[in-house]
Symmetry: D3
Subunit: 129 residues, 6 copies
């Protein structure tokens, strides 16, 4: 347990809450090296840098993942994250709509349906959130 890992796990929990922690746990059982890297590099090294607020980082992350359109699970984790760090429902939705300009309508539409699922999960605490 090095310093990067400890800082990373704290950041991961703060941002993604239970949804990200469960991904890392599922990963840790099967591919512990990658689970370790995920905690240390993205969360321990990058997200914990002070140059951007967590709101700015989650806004960017949701935009990038919605635009890419090939990582739906991670998009959902970071829409949860966007809510968790204090972005409003309106800001998150608009960030996804904004991607229609740069990545086309299918990306934006699929991103919005992912967000709808996230919001349903957040109102059903026994199920998943």
């Amino acid at each position: 347990m090095n310093e990067r890992y400890e800082r990373g796990i704290g950041m991961l929990n703060q941002i993604t809450g239970r949804s990200g922690e469960s991904v890392v746990k599922a990963l840790a059982d099967y591919a512990p090296a990658l689970a370790c890297m995920v905690v240390e590099f993205p969360y321990g090294d990058v997200f914990s840098r002070p140059q951007l607020s967590l709101k700015q980082r989650e806004l960017s992350t949701v935009a990038v993942l919605a635009a890419a359109g090939n990582a739906r699970d991670q998009l959902k984790v970071h829409i949860h994250g966007a809510f968790n760090v204090g972005l409003t429902r309106e800001e998150i939705m608009e960030t996804i709509i904004h991607t229609a300009v740069f990545a086309g309508f299918p990306a934006a539409i699929n991103g919005i349906f992912a967000m709808k699922e996230v919001e349903e999960e957040r109102t059903e605490p026994t199920l998943r959130a």
Copy 2:
């Protein structure tokens, strides 16, 4: 000249300054229908919605274009835009670095070199800015 176009051209100038305006002009001579759509839909309809600040929109845009890695000219226009709407040098650079997590290091490195070119252009007003 409808209302969407007028709102769009104002927004385009505010965000991209001379760099975006010159793209639209080059487009207008050759493909006026697309030039018109670019002004009306992205800038007249989307960027002018109040749900996100222009700083948030440019942050997202730079992230999406850096991550995609296949639209270098547009990335440069929106790095200019990010400066123009008041994001700091540190915020823009960090937004590009952040994409390494989600889109890999080549995207982040190429995004940073595009930003370096933009900064050089901004100090040479007679050349391009």
Copy 3:
């Protein structure tokens, strides 16, 4: 209800029939702004321009979505659309096969399996079409 929206909803119905209309309705309940944009810009502004026939537009759309490989639902909607505007089964299948050259075999294979699902849906009217 502006002119662009009315023209768009007519075009959407003509092309996608029930499959596209149900997507827009699902969207309208949750993200009305995006639902509105989808009708107005793609269908009201672009698809309704006379420079290409609807057959040419749906052929291009199926090719683009099959090649991209990250928007399966939209691909299915537009394979329905391709049938609806009068493209033959042979033309649609060949358009998907053609993408193997430019986007690789996985894209073409997954596109063909999406088309197979669409054809099954079209023979079961009570289920989904």
Copy 4:
């Protein structure tokens, strides 16, 4: 010189004219196996199938390559090809504009600038066409 190769080289010349032939020649000197495959599979096997007209194939190809945004040279070869098989300037331009809906505005804008270069080349026969 097998049958697939002969059929392919004929098709390649018909579609891409000198622009495609010169790519294959440049390839043949350095990587003859790939040059051979390019002639045999895309042109000998796929483009020569009768299920789509060459106009339909070039329309789809231009759409796919413009949308992908990462193969500018091939996009230009196939915009030449689209002209060569008889698509009108209006149809080609509109096919590129159409991709804005599905792949975003940067793809469409860059595709249009590629088309502009192609049209300039076609009026300068001594240079390249």
Copy 5:
């Protein structure tokens, strides 16, 4: 049944075993032309060339498909293939982890979860393998 097809079907069986054969069969019923091309070009022409070992080809294929992140079924077929041609569990897992550098963490994480499913399938012979 030409020479390319026969060589291809042998190679396909050797690499993908039952998982690839069943994809080709499903394809052959619906789109026989594509099923034929899949056997002839990728397996008959490319995989059977002697310049790379099958271990090197499956290593590259797993890397490319994990990085692309938009062809999960084909990724799984080729993780099976990587095992079938003799790559170790450690080599396959590391190849997927390696993609985090070039394609970002979501690609690597989703690739690892695909590999986990493959390993579960390989221990349940009655189910799928």
Copy 6:
């Protein structure tokens, strides 16, 4: 200068030689945080893991970057790297040709032309290598 950085810089030099070192230097002057991350994570953490040989890592890297088609400079650095760690000309060329199956012909063709440039650079030591 921590342990990860030192291990990373040694690995970077071993793999990419002067071509990678010069990229990191250009980066270090402008964006030192990213230059540091590039050395520490890809090279210090990932490439230095023993689960794959450097030949296997460079083979995978060339395949991924050729298939992606949007990071030409990095592809060239890693084609140099592939030569530097002992892959043969024939293996590297075939790895790029192999991507035609999974990512389409434009990716393979552009990858081969990038390799041609690399080989020209390697015979002109005063110029760049």
